[in-house]
């Protein structure tokens, strides 16, 4: 049964749009107002990562570290040892792209409540090209014991996720997209770390998405409905810990699973679902995302089209999958 309050306007052409990073900026400012232990560090990308909202509100709790991502996270680790709750922000391509070992040693193994903020993640960063399109971050962070990995689906959810990780007492990674993306949730919609949500009930296939891909899955489900295929849509904003129960229950209901992410499917969200299903409930699985290749320059929409990650493309792949793959253990 659906347990996610959808934006009632989500299927209209004039659906509200905002960058997910903007929600992060608002969430951090609100978290900072509620808890004076929260501090923010940035590596020369203050406006881009929207940590500027916190800086304007609490300048004495903002620390500029310059273009030095290794130092960024290790300084944050030291501040956490001194009792603070640091948010360390940069582009995901650089943090955790460049400083993974510092994150592992000084934050994850050291179990300090530092929050790594990876903005401009995924191919949707667009024209900057492959060097700046971080596709490996989900894989890199979800293999770290103690680490929480959150990929919000829209700006409103990013705000809630930011406030949630601010108070969870754990090393955490939050993955943010640069471009405006449709608002799928409402202010009243629930967000809890570690929970996946059913956005649409179905019984032919489960479409599971994270980040901005969940909106594309909703569009794909509507297209599939027109073809007589009834798709369940599952939004998975927390990759670690994965909501095993919700994912397995959905897989058991539909007998087929499709995952979508703007990241490498190897080791990414699709990898996480593949690991779960193969050990608990072997189920035909189609993983969509980046398949062992880098991105390239283009507008965000062009790139989603090119790599087959729009609702229309996903619906085509899903229909083919439904027609060609038998359902397993369907107990609908």
């Amino acid at each position: 049964m659906t347990n996610y309050l959808l934006n009632s306007n989500v299927f209209n052409d004039d659906v509200e749009q905002q960058p997910i990073r903007a929600g992060f900026g608002r969430g951090l400012k609100a978290a900072g107002a509620a808890n004076d232990k929260i501090v923010a560090l940035c590596a020369d990308l203050t406006d881009s990562t929207q940590i500027s909202l916190f800086k304007e509100a609490f300048p004495e709790r903002f620390i500029e570290v310059g273009i030095a991502e290794q130092n960024l996270v290790a300084v944050a680790s030291g501040m956490a040892r001194a009792g603070k709750i640091p948010f360390a922000s940069s582009y995901a391509a650089f943090s955790p792209g460049r400083n993974w070992e510092q994150i592992k040693t000084t934050i994850a193994l050291n179990d300090q409540p530092v929050k790594i903020v990876g903005s401009h993640a995924g191919i949707s960063v667009g024209p900057d090209g492959a060097t700046h399109q971080m596709l490996e971050d989900i894989a890199l962070l979800r293999v770290l014991p103690n680490m929480i990995v959150v990929v919000p689906g829209d700006g409103i959810e990013a705000e809630k996720a930011t406030r949630a990780i601010a108070e969870n007492g754990k090393p955490s990674y939050i993955r943010l997209s640069r471009e405006k993306s449709p608002i799928i949730s409402t202010n009243e919609t629930e967000f809890e770390i570690g929970k996946a949500y059913i956005l649409r009930d179905g019984y032919d296939i489960s479409l599971m998405g994270t980040g901005i891909m969940t909106y594309q899955l909703l569009i794909a489900a509507n297209i599939l409905a027109g073809q007589g295929i009834n798709a369940e849509v599952v939004h998975v904003p927390t990759i670690k810990p994965l909501d095993n129960q919700t994912i397995l229950e959905s897989a058991r209901r539909t007998g087929r699973v499709l995952t979508a992410e703007e990241a490498q499917i190897a080791g990414g969200f699709g990898g996480a679902v593949a690991e779960l299903l193969s050990s608990e409930l072997p189920t035909p699985l189609l993983r969509l995302g980046m398949v062992d290749r880098y991105g390239e320059s283009g507008t965000p929409h062009e790139l989603l089209e090119y790599f087959g990650l729009t609702g229309q493309h996903i619906a085509e792949k899903a229909a083919e999958f439904v027609h060609n793959k038998a359902q397993y253990h369907r107990d609908y």
């Binding site: 501090v39 310059g66 130092n71 290790a74 300084v75 030291g78 001194a82 000084t106």
Partner: protein, 287 residues
């Protein structure tokens, strides 16, 4: 509060720590002799004179903090902590054993009293800088100081220089860093592997107050820290010239002892060196 030892007592304590290190490494069968031994005088000075600590209350909120950056030398820290009463000395012989709180490289979550987890080089100065920033700018805790020890070979890591710029920019005057200038690293002498000099010039140009001392002269170590505390507009770095393997003559100056432990014969010989009448007499009873 931990005890504050006199000069003579500190010299004797450093020797006890060296004996602990030899025992630990022999029992463990692996580990790093050279740096652990050469840091004994500095670490003894920190734990038994310089730092305000409470071994029975490791998280005491007014304590000074110590971040060991070159985590492979952690036997010297474990030994000092046991001597200071953080835990029983018998636990030292569990070093590197399955289930031990004394991991091969320090893990904060395993052992109360450790401030950080380290081993991969080049992280300690950043963590110490983050702590020192917090004390200076956020908590207004001017009475607390942050110490870190780095190896010299470790300075090959570029991240140290990111941290050096950071601490220089923010004039972290409660941060006092030691460099263990023993001139060796795994592959050989530092100036052959990757030259570090001019070290004084490098740190001065990053905005630090630089002191150079004999890292085995305990009075010099304490004096340097007092000087560093008196410098209130910059972070301080104390370049401590040391002899790798100090105290065990057949290990001294030899980079091949960087990353190996003594076998039982070597450990016995090392103990004889550390327990000479000369060592005992000059380090104590004539004072």
């Amino acid at each position: 509060m931990g005890e504050k030892l006199s000069l003579i007592q500190l010299q004797r304590k450093a020797n006890d720590i060296r004996e602990d290190i030899i025992n630990m490494l022999e029992t463990a069968g692996s580990g790093h002799c050279a740096g652990s031994l050469d840091l004994a005088d500095i670490v003894a000075s920190l734990y038994f004179n310089i730092m305000n600590l409470d071994p029975k209350n490791p998280d005491w909120e007014d304590r000074d903090v110590f971040f060991l950056s070159n985590g492979h030398t952690v036997p010297v820290q474990y030994a000092a902590m046991a001597e200071a009463g953080y835990f029983d000395k018998s636990e030292l012989l569990t070093l590197r054993k399955l289930g031990s709180r004394l991991q091969g490289h320090p893990e904060r979550t395993k052992l109360p009293g450790l401030e950080n987890t380290s081993g991969p080089l080049g992280c300690g100065l950043s963590q110490a800088s983050g702590y020192a920033y917090t004390l200076q700018y956020l908590d207004d805790a001017k009475h607390r100081f942050v110490y870190t020890i780095m190896g010299d070979g470790e300075l090959d890591e570029g991240s140290n220089w990111e941290a050096a710029m950071f601490a220089g920019k923010y004039k972290l005057s409660q941060l006092i860093a030691f460099i263990d200038r023993n001139n060796i690293q795994i592959d050989g002498n530092t100036e052959d592997v990757m030259p570090l000099e001019d070290l004084v010039g490098k740190w001065e140009s990053f905005g630090w107050h630089v002191l150079e001392i004999d890292g085995h002269n305990i009075q010099s170590i304490i004096d340097a820290v007092n000087m560093a505390k008196a410098i209130t507009n910059r972070p301080s770095v104390i370049i401590a010239h040391t002899i790798p393997g100090k105290g065990v003559d057949f290990m001294e100056y030899d980079y091949r002892w960087h990353g190996v432990a003594p076998n039982s014969d070597q450990a016995k010989a090392a103990m004889q060196r550390l327990r000479t009448l000369d060592g005992k007499i000059t380090s104590g009873d004539l004072a």
